[in-house]
């Protein structure tokens, strides 16, 4: 059975007095124990919204208007705020983009770690400090004992993000949701942090939802991939299968637009236009105005996600596709 099962999730925001617009328009996903899932899309595609919705963190005036989120058999959307705290930050942890915003600048690393542990476990401060040092060592922070008394500004960006990961690991979660965890970091530091997250997931059989716009990062870290566009999942499947042989025209366009995938001196492939805002979605398939394969049917009706692809004219998997 899946550890986390999201079915037909809709998130809506009010627009004017009597109308609503949907930021998520029916997204489903399932995550097995120890599985690493990547969610890729451009800004505004709804990928962060999905992460927030899973943790029941959609802020007013937004609301989950439809759907279910089942974690370990319980529907998170029907739980009380008190009960969900036993799961959020405990059995499901989150790593955000900017460690300088995640960490409290006026408290030491140690205080923040002990506080997190005590919120979820009945343990002594001494024991909490011991566990904190253990986790700091796990994320390869040099001289972990002395770093416990450091303030966030005393650490470099890479070390700060390692501290954030250590805090996320404190309660030995079953799922980690990482929302663009390395976007604010340099490439060499990004490689360190992603290698660390990958190793931790493997060693501890932890499931990962990695939200990013970087196809290279998902290729390195995840096993399964979801491509999102305008509040919907347009393609879903094994990461390497999608990267080698995308079947949705949008996934194909994203991959072809990468400088790595084109010859030097030739123009890059470009998807015309840009993603529509959720307040002005076109009729039918949201991608049709930018799609080179769009037909009359795409203008009128929207394709459902069937066998991991939401398109009336999917591309043929070419010769590169694995059997």
């Amino acid at each position: 059975m899946a550890l986390l099962e999201v079915t037909d999730l809709h998130v809506a925001f009010p627009r004017g007095k009597h109308h609503e617009v949907e930021a998520l328009r029916g997204v489903s996903l399932s995550l097995k124990k120890g599985e690493r899932l990547g969610i890729v899309g451009e800004s505004g595609a709804g990928k962060s919204m999905l992460a927030f919705a899973i943790l029941n963190l959609i802020a007013e005036p937004g609301r989950v208007s439809q759907g279910a989120i089942r974690f370990d058999g319980q529907n998170l959307l029907e739980m009380s705020e008190h009960d969900i705290r036993g799961i959020r930050g405990n059995r499901i942890s989150m790593i955000f983009q900017d460690p300088m915003v995640t960490l409290n600048p006026v408290l030491t690393i140690g205080t923040q770690m002990v506080e997190t542990l005590k919120a979820h476990r009945k343990i002594s401060t001494h024991e909490a400090r011991r566990l904190s040092i253990e986790k700091l060592k796990l994320v390869a922070i040099p001289s972990a004992e002395s770093r416990l008394d450091a303030y966030p500004h005393e650490l470099s960006g890479g070390l700060r993000q390692r501290v954030v990961i250590a805090i996320a690991l404190l309660t030995d979660p079953e799922i980690i949701i990482a929302d663009e965890p390395t976007t604010a970091l340099d490439v060499t530091i990004q490689a360190e942090i992603m290698a660390l997250i990958l190793q931790l997931c493997r060693d501890r059989d932890m499931a990962l939802i990695l939200i990013t716009h970087d196809l290279g990062v998902v290729a390195e870290v995840t096993e399964r991939l979801m491509i999102m566009y305008a509040g919907l999942c347009v393609e879903e499947g094994p990461t390497q299968r999608i990267i080698n042989a995308p079947t949705h025209p949008y996934s194909n366009g994203l991959l072809k637009a990468l400088p790595q995938n084109s010859e030097r001196g030739q123009d890059l492939y470009q998807i015309p236009g840009s993603m529509p805002p959720i307040t002005a979605l076109p009729s039918g398939c949201a991608y049709h105005p930018r799609c080179e394969f769009a037909t009359e049917r795409c203008h009128v009706s929207a394709p459902d996600l069937v066998n991991g692809i939401a398109c009336f004219h999917p591309l043929k998997a070419d010769a590169k596709a694995p059997a």
Partner: protein, 323 residues
């Protein structure tokens, strides 16, 4: 040999940091230490490096937005770093800049026509209104902007459209040389390809020379002719774009290349040790990369390597042991 369009000779940039008025220490940040590069007409010269390496400072020094503490900067053989505002004015039309964030670089209260007309009014006061209008229309066409945008304000545009407007503004005085400081990093993947193609097309039609500042080596591979890899205010390697990928000479360049996520996956499988930039206020006496280098020797910690030509290649590298 051609006269380089831009040449820097041993450019130093030091910033005095704020101190307590009773303090005896006068800490100085070395943003650039001895940078010498020459850019030939028609090149796309790339500067890569991580945050804090001085790549933006170099671009700003060349544009005259910062005055170097020592060293010389030449534009077409004329020394420009000592010029005062009025003497520099004729050159400004020939050198323009595109910034990273099009949400910050456009004045939100000025419509597109005024944004584009401003540089002409300032730098070419002899042009009358009709000529300005013709020039603005011409440059809007060249950058793929619609003429109907002229009376609109920046908030009416998406990020990619704004960056087109920012590029149009840089082109409106018919410059020969453009400094582009991370012009695509703030944009979505599908939009990045559009902007890169636009920059390539404009180079062909207008004979532009670019100084392209980026942290993304895959862009260099597609776009650059030559590349300078910077670390802590120094050029570590100076090479042709194709050589830097096929035959990197400096250990830091190899670390950067190794950190790029690959679409084939598998390169993040090994854990990586945390590394960070040394303190630019108290740089190490030897090679700035020595603390992170895998092939470090005693000599690296005491003697700073100079940029030197490497045998049997067109590459220069600042490493005692590169060959």
């Amino acid at each position: 040999m051609n006269v380089p369009i831009i040449e820097t000779k041993n450019v130093e940039m030091r910033f005095a940091l704020p101190t307590h008025f009773l303090s005896r220490q006068k800490p100085v940040l070395h943003a650039l230490s001895g940078v010498s590069i020459a850019i030939e007409p028609g090149e796309s010269f790339c500067v890569v490096g991580e945050s804090g390496c001085g790549k933006t400072t170099l671009g700003r020094a060349i544009m005259g937005l910062l005055t170097p503490s020592a060293g010389e900067i030449y534009f077409r053989g004329t020394r420009i770093d000592q010029l005062d505002e009025s003497a520099r004015k004729p050159i400004r039309a020939d050198m323009q800049m595109v910034f990273q964030n099009p949400y910050a670089s456009l004045n939100p209260r000025r419509n597109v026509f005024d944004t584009l007309a401003e540089p002409i009014r300032h730098l070419k006061p002899e042009m009358n209104h009709a000529e300005i209008r013709a020039q603005v229309e011409d440059v809007l066409d060249a950058t793929g902007c619609d003429q109907s945008w002229q009376r609109k304000l920046p908030h009416e545009f998406s990020g990619g459209q704004r960056q087109r407007i920012a590029i149009a503004r840089a082109l409106v005085t018919n410059p020969a040389f453009i400094v582009a400081d991370e012009p695509i990093s703030a944009l979505d993947v599908s939009i990045q390809a559009q902007i890169l193609n636009l920059l390539t097309d404009l180079q062909e039609t207008r004979g532009l020379t670019y100084l392209f500042i980026t942290h993304d080596l895959s862009v260099v591979k597609h776009f650059g002719t030559r590349v300078a890899v910077m670390y802590l205010g120094q050029v570590m390697e100076l090479a042709r774009a194709e050589d830097i990928f096929a035959r990197p000479k400096h250990p830091y360049t190899r670390l950067l290349l190794d950190a790029i996520p690959k679409l084939t996956g598998g390169s993040f499988d090994k854990p990586r040790q945390p590394g960070e930039l040394p303190d630019p206020v108290n740089p190490p006496p030897g090679c700035p990369f020595a603390p992170r280098c895998s092939m470090v020797q005693d000599r690296c910690r005491s003697e700073r390597p100079k940029l030197r030509p490497i045998a049997n290649s067109a590459t220069q590298a600042a490493c005692h042991f590169a060959d």
